[in-house]
């Protein structure tokens, strides 16, 4: 399904479909930062969260227990690349792509963006949803069994491992966790999608991904945040924008000194301290189709002012989807799965982690795909090792 820019809105950025619903999951991602582990089939607002995994709901399917050599949890580039390699290696993997897991459609974060211009192999760019459709077709082609259910719970305390979703329980000899992460967003008037919201029409959570878009060129831009990412993104954006404002709610950054230094000494960067964004509004000259400005409040003085910008970037962190693991894998202080350097091995032998769930540094589709491949190869190796010890098949 190709998107066709029939819109006079001109730029690919406009039609980005992060189609979350501003009320539900976007808000979940954002403010509270407590991504209320919506690991159940319902999107966002986790109604029946962590209660008994396998006995709820299901008018449709009967409870089924499946066995496999490898279970992959996730639906983004990491998960599907792992699936492609694993299925070609005859591991007959079962992949849980989730049903609106974490409030995101199967395919992951890329389904929330329109054009992907930097994934190698696509000189004309490709629509995010289309790209993930291709990944999925490929893993399906080689025999991956794809289950459209969200994993509620796992048990890695013994082998074989157990993975629980609404109607299916999987018993797996090895597991790849590739559940990704979500960029945190803030929720205020004008920050969502659809009419009235400027998400993907000037508001984004990824400067690297979107900064080069034409609508931002030589225009005033803003970044919200105070950490290293915010400093980096602001600096990055000075290449494109006429001026970059860093809007931060306190009077000091928590970023490292060196990153702060770089940002503060950059002539194109101006900091608005003690400031929060109340509202985003449209550009009247463009029939309000794109972001035109922000209402910014100084939390110390209470003063509200207008800031004319064409772009707003959230750089307030990412939230990895690891709550469902319930502490069974070692996580770092920000919730990312810890993997041994240079590998996808986690604290549990036989469980591997790939993609954004274990990567807070690069967070790109191609790096996720890369680690997905690594995870599959490592899982295969692991299976050979335990297979040769037990001498059992299937």
């Amino acid at each position: 399904m190709s998107h066709s820019p029939r819109h006079r809105l001109l730029f690919s950025l406009i039609r980005k479909g992060r189609s979350f619903f501003r009320l539900a999951s976007t808000a979940v991602v954002a403010s509270a930062a407590a991504i209320a582990a919506p690991r159940v089939a319902s999107s966002a607002a986790a109604s029946s969260s962590l209660t008994s995994a396998s006995t709820t709901v299901s008018a449709m399917d009967d409870l089924q227990t499946l066995k496999t050599k490898l279970c992959i949890i996730g639906s983004g580039p990491a998960a599907h690349t792992a699936a492609i390699y694993a299925s070609r290696a005859e591991l007959k993997p079962i992949l849980f792509e989730g049903w609106m897991a974490n409030g995101i459609a199967p395919g992951g974060q890329l389904t929330t963006t329109s054009d992907v211009e930097n994934f190698p192999g696509f000189p004309d760019g490709i629509n995010g949803i289309d790209l993930m459709d291709r990944f999925r077709s490929q893993s399906h082609r080689f025999g991956t069994q794809i289950v459209t259910e969200t994993v509620n719970k796992v048990d890695f305390s013994t082998t074989p491992f157990k993975i629980f979703a609404d109607s299916k329980t999987v018993i797996a000899e090895s597991v790849i966790v590739a559940t990704g992460a979500v960029a945190k967003r803030l929720d205020f008037l004008g920050s969502g999608e659809g009419s009235g919201g400027f998400w993907n029409r000037g508001i984004s959570a990824c400067a690297v991904c979107d900064g080069a878009a034409p609508i931002f060129r030589n225009k005033p831009l803003a970044v919200i945040g105070g950490g290293d990412s915010a400093m980096e993104e602001a600096t990055f954006l000075t290449k494109y924008g006429s001026i970059v404002y860093i809007i931060h709610r306190r009077d000091t950054f928590r970023a490292s000194k060196i990153m702060q230094q770089r940002a503060l000494t950059n002539p194109k960067i101006q900091v608005l301290w003690n400031s929060v964004v109340l509202e985003a509004h449209g550009d009247k000259d463009n029939q309000n189709k794109l972001l035109g400005g922000l209402k910014v409040k100084n939390v110390v003085s209470g003063e509200v002012s207008d800031l004319k910008v064409s772009g707003l970037f959230f750089a307030i962190g990412h939230e990895p989807a690891t709550k469902f693991l319930d502490g069974q894998l070692e996580l770092d202080s920000e919730g990312y799965v810890v993997t041994q350097s240079g590998t996808t091995q986690t604290s549990v032998p036989g469980v591997f982690a790939a993609g954004d769930v274990q990567d807070k540094k690069y967070r790109q589709a191609v790096t996720a795909a890369g680690t997905g491949c690594m995870a599959a190869l490592e899982a295969e190796h692991y299976l050979q090792e335990i297979g040769s010890q037990e001498g059992k098949t299937d």
């Binding site: 479909g17 189609s19 979350f20 619903f21 049903w99 659809g194």
Partner: protein
């Protein structure tokens, strides 16, 4: 028409008006799925809605792409996709925002029964 059991896509304002008129006159529950081609969750919930439509021919299901029929989307103040608007005789009786399949089914059932009773 013989489009019961299906989700009917309205691609023009005229088609929309026609179907809405039919819906109003029939006194059936009308469920409108406001969707967008670039919306991942919309795609995810579409088959669920289609399944429900098949089982409930007494309800009229319409689908509107918010980019195609912007004025209609604006009229119903659609802010996020998908948004399901429930109408009876032209009046909005409920909405479900988001691909919430656990909320969608019971809401449809609730209003469909109410129609039958009336």
């Amino acid at each position: 028409m013989a489009e019961e059991g299906q989700v009917i896509s309205c691609h023009t304002v005229d088609a929309w008006k026609l179907h809405m008129q039919n819906g109003n006159e029939s006194k059936k529950l009308v469920v409108v799925d406001f969707t967008a081609s670039w919306c991942g969750p919309c795609r995810t919930i579409a088959p669920i809605l289609a399944e429900i439509a098949k089982k409930m021919p007494e309800v009229t299901f319409l689908k509107v792409d918010v980019d195609e029929l912007t004025t209609v989307a604006e009229e119903y103040e659609v802010q996020a996709m998908p948004t399901f608007v429930f109408l009876k005789e032209g009046k909005v009786v409920d909405t479900v925002v988001g691909a919430k399949k656990d909320e969608l089914q019971p809401t449809i059932a609730k209003h469909a029964t109410a129609t039958a009773a009336a």
